[in-house]
Subunit: 224 residues, 2 copies
Amino acid sequence: MHRTRVRVVEDALDANNTIARANRDDFDRAGVKVVNLMSAPGAGKTTLLERVLGSLDGVRAAVLEGDVQGSLDADRLARLHVPVTQLNTDPGFGGECHLDANMVRSALPEIALGEIDLLVIENVGNLVCPAEFRVGEDVRVMVSSVAEGEDKPLKYPLMFRTCELVLVNKVDLLPYLDYDVDKFLYHLDAVNPGVPRMFMSARTGEGVDAWREWLLELTMGVRA
Amino acid sequence: MHRTRVRVVEDALDANNTIARANRDDFDRAGVKVVNLMSAPGAGKTTLLERVLGSLDGVRAAVLEGDVQGSLDADRLARLHVPVTQLNTDPGFGGECHLDANMVRSALPEIALGEIDLLVIENVGNLVCPAEFRVGEDVRVMVSSVAEGEDKPLKYPLMFRTCELVLVNKVDLLPYLDYDVDKFLYHLDAVNPGVPRMFMSARTGEGVDAWREWLLELTMGVRA
């Protein structure tokens, strides 16, 4: 029974990877860089996008917004005059807890790939399953809020291990938390040694310039 | 294809419910009350248990600790001299994002049901899938950290809709956040009208007496 189950799961992940490669081919042909942005619920993904998407000079950005239900984040981002496509996962299984490659593929007809340089896919807020499903992205960026505590890399290792950049958000709250930055970095390096990390506050704007520059460099291939 | 998939999922949930009922029967026979404690990662479930489990006079409590990997929380709770059983979900699918009834059932031989009055099942930190799987609990309690923002009931409606108590945690951070309590309550009542809610800070201890009393009342059947 267990053996059967594992095989089914492997088949599902294999199919996902096939579709993710097809997505990636489409993105590459159009010259679009794709970021898969992931975090726990309420870590600040949308606010970090609000901080930078309106000021990426020379980069035409769009967002694919993944949510179980509703379009609160898409509505916020649309105010920046950036094209936003909403993808709701609630038709499946009382709400899928992640985006997969086929969901992203189903949204591609709504996205004018020929008219953009950067697509940010804002995943469902969850530190487990989004890490298991490639969607065709070039890079994975995760947001870790200091309000969540410094033990999270050890508790959700796959997420921290498979990302190319960690945005440590809400540093304005550090004076009011029992959060040991050194301990967080120790845990982070235990699961993903040397992964680039940036400290910032989406609320105050502190540190977000580095995130903007990183996106510019990713898209334009040169440091801004 | 979609039709087939939905049927498979329904079968899985049906099997889960069957096993959940078997768990519930075992708990009832032993006279053990069971709480399924859920939240996003880092909302404070473990700290809220640390605050109350050592001081539940007359109640013999135990914890079943669900994590993708590791035993950090179980180690913390064991210091309270409360029996803790660790359940790791990582043998499945790169880490299951929730506990299900069969996982809980597999742990029951490790728990001395005849010697306890209250079992708290601390679920995996996730606002989506844990809400979809009954595990045999009497009641579902969820923790919502104010650091996550006031929009969460609208974004993760199943979780907020299927719980019997909401612990709004980290209220000591309110002066430093753009969090509108009235808006949160409006959203909460939109998805689960009138659900009992308690405001507290696991860090400072403010408000945790109400949570302790609630557990005593649940277990002893009288207000402490």
